[in-house]
């Protein structure tokens, strides 16, 4: 998994022994999620998420393009991942990037969280193409969860320019008009309020890491047979970088508040009892609830903050009225 950082054998064994005793290096409980800190930027769609020391910045952008020929009624959603060059050390080249990308694609695109059809402007001709750029600023484990979280918050936060379709060919109303968009008027944010994306549900990914507590540690080999007997599987939430390096397999569950599982991936590695997997799913429910609440409150705060700056009184359409009438 990780190239640049190498753990010494002693360090590895120490960590595993700690885990076997139910303790972790940073003092967390086995099933404790690190604190999530979500910062929303001034611009719509700019999100900065911190999870412990891991930090990801997501920026959502949009443009108008021609939809794919085989899907004329749908918009486009793309994810672009930038691994900061000094963080490349922490990822084993393409595989991680690929994993994150596919993960986000599955949990947001395939689960219909982002309603692509709502991005369609004129069927077969114009649609919005939404692009999410991910930047990893600092990395201390749990790539997947944090990036997934950041993207979905970004999408919730992001707003699209209002577009009107002008059937009159001569129109030259909007400021962004050029030849290609001849009959579309894209309204700048300050003219007409932008519209939020239609997000149907909020998928949250939770990654579980698995370890076996056989004394020797390192060797993954000989323990397939007797999971149920001699050895117990330790199941860890929100692994840090060092813990991630040592894990023997992992399970990524994406769920939303409605107790709908959007995606599960267990990608080989140490085999895990099916019951354990079910337990993990049930445990994830609680965390998903918490995180969803957190996201919602953060967004609400942001909205309120933005409203503060708007001179609401002046925007009122109705005439001022004296309140205490005679």
């Amino acid at each position: 998994m990780v190239k640049g950082v190498v753990l010494s054998r002693n360090e590895q064994e120490f960590l595993l022994q700690l885990l076997a005793q139910g303790k972790r290096l940073d003092g967390r409980e086995i099933e404790q999620f690190r604190d999530v800190e979500i910062k929303l930027g001034e611009e719509y769609g700019y999100v900065d998420v911190k999870l412990g020391r891991s930090r990801v910045v997501v920026r959502i952008s949009s443009e108008i393009v021609k939809p794919f020929e085989d899907r004329p009624f749908e918009g486009i959603f793309n994810i672009n991942i930038e691994l900061n060059s000094n963080l490349l050390l922490f990822s084993s080249s393409d595989n991680d990037e690929l994993l994150i990308q596919r993960m986000i694609e599955k949990s947001i695109k395939r689960s219909n969280s982002l309603d692509l059809e709502s991005l369609c402007i004129i069927a077969g001709k114009f649609c919005w193409s939404i692009k999410a750029d991910l930047h990893f600023i600092e990395f201390d484990g749990n790539f997947i969860d944090i990036s997934n979280l950041a993207v979905i918050v970004g999408l919730l936060h992001f707003k699209l320019n209002n577009v009107t379709i002008n059937n009159n060919q001569n129109a030259s109303g909007g400021s962004n008009n050029d030849q290609q968009y001849a009959n579309l008027i894209i309204h700048p944010i300050n003219e007409i309020d932008p519209i939020s994306l239609s997000i149907l549900h909020i998928p949250i990914s939770i990654t579980f890491s698995f370890y076996t507590s056989t004394s020797s540690g390192g060797d993954t080999g000989d323990n397939d047979k007797d999971n149920d007997k001699d050895q117990s599987v330790i199941c860890l939430l929100d692994a840090s970088l060092k813990e991630e390096m040592l894990r023997q397999s992992f399970l990524i569950i994406t769920m939303n508040k409605n107790k709908e599982v959007c995606q599960i991936l267990k990608n080989g590695g140490l085999p895990i009892d099916a019951l354990t997997i079910l337990n993990c799913c049930n445990r994830a429910v609680k965390i998903v609830d918490e995180l969803t609440e957190k996201i919602k409150s953060t967004l609400k705060e942001d909205q309120l903050r933005r409203l503060e700056n708007v001179p609401l009184d002046e925007l009122r359409a109705e005439n001022a009225r004296q309140t205490n009438e005679l």
């Binding site: 000989d222 323990n223 397939d224 047979k225 007797d226 007997k229 001699d230």
Partner: protein, 424 residues
């Protein structure tokens, strides 16, 4: 213009795929499953799975279009067939524990071999606690307390003393890497070969620099496994006059498990052809060399010597190996150069060449029929093959299978004791 004039559209009706859903096979495996926590148990019905349409196939002979230019046959579902019906008696045999001798029972990966902690666990097994499981599909073999499972098929695993044929793949630092058809390339140290200028002289730095003059990439050689390294790689040596570079013939590859490990692996066959049956399945067929009267010494008959000298002049004119060793005479030096020559004997007669290819086809025939290869069998097949004037006929599958049967039947008739024919 062409862009508008050429249009594709998919007309589903014209496609041929309408048949796929409807003809889906309707033989299914009935089973039932009772909830999560209760013990899973399957319906008692025996499954009918795996019926290839065999009733037709097995009975009728494959449609053959025999002609001398090209034979086309249908793939025959032979031996390892898909299905169960005809073999059900066989299954019963193996299912009854009384008949289940250790030698004949087949274990598959994950199957419990023994829970006796006293037995030592060899290849093809792994253990969890006291229990030993098989890690391959194969037969159990027990030698004293060593229990191992021998896979039915695997790549060549070298053992010390194996006489093998290999091909140089890499010239490295004081060593050659040799492809022997095994899991890893074998290693031939510069110190384990005879160099020109006396068998036991020290290897000079000059030798190191000119290793390619002795053996280079692609060269075939005939050698013996001297030792096995920890990681399973083989160390080779050619420190005998019977080993060395191969000439005057061609290589045949057969599966290594068909070669029976015997005392001797190089033979002279009828028809002035010799064979080296490498244990690794690399077989070298070549013209039987002229016998010299002093077979073991490095001196050669004068008549031969002249020939070699002329042969070697082109190769080694600008190189004097072991130039420091004064005591060795010129004669001995030159004679051992012969080991590393690339030149074939110029006088290989057509007859010998024809015999060599005939033997090659005989070997291919044995390997096709998966019959263990021994000297006597090769000769036997050769005899049978003589009824085909053109040995090119031997490449036909039908012919090969017929000959294979003949060989086995012939042995039965003659009662040849070939008890350990197979290495399996």
């Amino acid at each position: 213009m062409s862009s508008t004039s050429k249009q594709n559209w998919a007309i589903s009706d014209c496609d041929a795929h309408f048949c796929d859903v409807l003809v889906m096979l309707k033989i299914f495996v009935p089973f039932h499953c009772y909830g999560w926590s209760s013990q899973k148990c399957w319906g008692a019905e025996e499954e009918t799975a795996g019926e290839a349409g065999k009733a037709g196939e097995a009975g009728e002979a494959p449609a053959e279009a025999t002609m001398e230019v090209l034979t086309v046959s249908k793939p025959i579902q032979n031996r390892e067939d898909f299905d169960s019906d005809s073999d059900s008696d066989l299954d019963l045999d193996f299912a009854s524990p009384q008949k289940q001798s250790l030698q004949n029972s087949v274990v598959t990966p994950g199957e419990l071999v023994t829970s006796d902690p006293m037995l030592m666990r060899g290849h093809g097994t792994y253990s969890v606690g006291n229990k030993t499981y098989s890690s391959v599909a194969g037969t159990i073999s027990r030698v004293n307390k060593l229990l191992s499972v021998i896979p039915l098929k695997s790549r060549f695993r070298p053992e010390t003393g194996d006489h093998i044929v290999g091909r140089i793949t890499e010239v490295g630092n004081k060593r050659w890497k040799v492809d022997i058809g095994g899991e890893q390339n074998a290693i031939l140290l510069l110190g384990s070969v005879n160099l020109p200028g006396g068998i036991l002289r020290r290897k000079s730095q000059n030798d190191e620099l000119t290793m390619r003059n002795f053996l280079k990439e692609g060269d075939l050689l005939n050698c013996e496994v001297q030792m096995l390294y920890n990681d399973g790689a083989a160390g080779l040596h050619t420190r005998s006059l019977k080993y060395g570079k191969l000439r005057n013939g061609l290589l045949v590859l057969v599966p290594s498990y068909l070669i029976v490990r015997t005392k001797n692996h190089s033979f002279d066959l009828p028809g002035n052809v010799s064979i080296i049956l490498g244990v690794n399945g690399f077989v070298w067929l070549y013209k039987t060399p002229l016998k010299t009267s002093l077979s073991s010494s490095s001196t050669l008959k004068n008549t031969n010597l002249n020939k070699f000298q002329t042969m070697l002049n082109s190769d080694s004119s600008n190189y004097t190996p072991g130039s420091t060793s004064v005591s060795i005479t010129r004669l001995e030096e030159e004679s051992t150069w012969e080991i590393y020559s690339d030149k074939n004997d110029p006088n290989i007669s057509n007859n010998v060449r024809l015999n060599i290819v005939r033997y090659k086809n005989c070997l291919k025939c044995l390997s096709h029929c998966e019959i263990g290869i021994t000297k006597s069998r090769i000769e036997h097949v050769y005899d049978i093959s003589l009824e085909y004037e053109n040995s090119g006929n031997l490449i036909e599958i039908e012919v090969m299978e017929r000959i294979g049967k003949d060989v086995l039947n012939g042995e039965k008739m003659r009662g040849v004791n070939t008890s350990k024919m197979m290495s399996l």
